[in-house]
């Protein structure tokens, strides 16, 4: 299996590395945290394979709470147990929260120049592109499975065309998708 071959269970990830990398993800993640989370964990640090990352995100999406917080808990606990999970979660959330509270309350309290709105407009247009690209990258390990492409397209259509809520799409499609994955055994693929 690709996801077990590529994952680096043997990599030595220190608490210090968790403490350094997660604030970076938190502070860089404007528009979408997912882009930076995948980049640091998969591309830069190789803490997870592309496939393992996608699987962790799926689980994180299903569980309660913010999905990126759930990924940080997974990474922290995978390498360093409960302490690692706490360090990763605190690293991810503390610094950006401080920045956000200070800037947010300033923004609410004082008048702000219109140029800020324009800068934010540019950033969010690019952030949208980064998010789409991240989704495409996560699909790459599954590109030869027609069923995977089909269900990805169906989930996209459910949200964009049918305008269904996220939870409805998850609850409606996931059992079907799992059933199809079960029928098409790994040997056949």
């Amino acid at each position: 299996m690709m996801d077990t071959l590529n994952s680096r269970e043997d990599v030595d990830v220190t608490l210090g590395a968790l403490f350094l990398e997660f604030p970076k993800i938190g502070l860089c993640g404007i528009g979408s945290m997912l882009v930076w989370t995948r980049r640091v964990i998969v591309d830069e640090r190789h803490w997870m394979s592309e496939a393992e990352f996608a699987e962790t995100l799926s689980l994180g999406q299903f569980l309660p709470g913010p999905e990126i917080a759930n990924i940080s808990i997974y990474v922290g606990s995978k390498f360093r147990g409960p302490i690692g999970a706490i360090i990763a979660l605190l690293g991810l959330t503390a610094a950006p929260l401080a920045v956000g509270l200070v800037l947010g309350t300033l923004y609410l309290r004082y008048p702000h120049p219109a140029v800020i709105q324009k800068v934010l407009g540019g950033i969010s247009a690019a952030a949208a592109g980064l998010l789409i690209a991240t989704g495409i990258k996560m699909l790459m390990p599954h590109r030869r499975r027609p069923a995977a492409l089909f269900f990805a397209a169906l989930a996209f259509a459910g949200i964009i065309l049918a305008k269904l809520p996220l939870l409805t799409v998850l609850v409606g499609l996931v059992p079907l998708s799992i059933a199809v994955a079960g029928v098409m055994s790994p040997k056949a693929e």
């Binding site: 938190g26 993640g29 404007i30 528009g31 979408s32 997912l34 980049r39 996608a54 799926s58 999406q61 309660p64 709470g65 913010p66 917080a69 759930n70 808990i73 997974y74 606990s77 995978k78 999970a85 979660l89 991810l92 950006p96 929260l97 920045v99 956000g100 509270l101 947010g104 923004y107 140029v115 800068v119 934010l120 407009g121 540019g122 950033i123 969010s124 247009a125 690019a126 952030a127 592109g129 980064l130 998010l131 690209a133 991240t134 989704g135 495409i136 990258k137 996560m138 699909l139 995977a148 492409l149 989930a155 996209f156 809520p165 996220l166 998850l170 996931v174 799992i178 994955a181 079960g182």
Partner: protein, 177 residues
């Protein structure tokens, strides 16, 4: 009738909702809105929308910041910090236990099948989120071009996303969108 002070009531409610926020915090936003704006009147609709917009524009997890801003409004700095903990604390405990359990059965064949089924749906949702974000940011072909260029650069080169965001912000600031 004695009821708990507003910050305590908000934080307690938030911690409960966090436990059932399957699919992410946005799934409990209607419940939060109902409590904060409709039932208790701790914030106006306009303030609620402002908190949301600010949270989206700042670094970090938007929903944690949004709940902290509401907590700030309800109970100052202490309210803000308690709200942040209540937003992701209870759900994180659930996630930790769930990951531990799933790791124990990681190599079971049924789990591989479950993961194979989950991933495509997740990816479809991620791409849809990008599309929604692009539509929300859309101000015509210029914005669409930036979205397309950003996606292309990430897929085709190893350039850092930070440069893409900074450049796009500058283009926006110069009024070119």
């Amino acid at each position: 009738m004695s009821s708990p002070p507003a910050p305590v009531a908000f934080v307690a409610q938030l911690a409960l909702l966090s436990l059932i926020s399957f699919g992410g915090i946005p799934s409990i936003l209607p419940g939060i809105h109902n409590l904060v704006v409709v039932t208790k009147g701790w914030a106006t609709d306009r303030e609620f929308a402002d908190f949301y917009a600010i949270a989206q524009a700042m670094p970090g997890l938007p929903m944690i910041l949004m709940m902290s801003l509401i907590g700030w409004k309800v109970g100052g700095l202490t309210g803000a910090l308690a709200s942040a903990v209540a937003t992701c604390g209870p759900s994180s405990a659930v996630a930790f236990v769930a990951f531990r359990l799933s790791h124990r059965f990681r190599d079971a064949s049924w789990q591989r099948i479950v993961r194979r089924g989950l991933v495509p749906v997740t990816v479809g949702i991620v791409i849809a989120s990008g599309y929604v974000l692009a539509r929300a940011a859309d101000n015509g072909w210029q914005a669409a071009a930036i979205t397309g260029a950003a996606a292309g650069l990430i897929l085709g080169t190893r350039i850092s996303p930070l440069w893409i965001l900074v450049t796009a912000g500058a283009i926006g600031g110069l009024g070119l969108i």
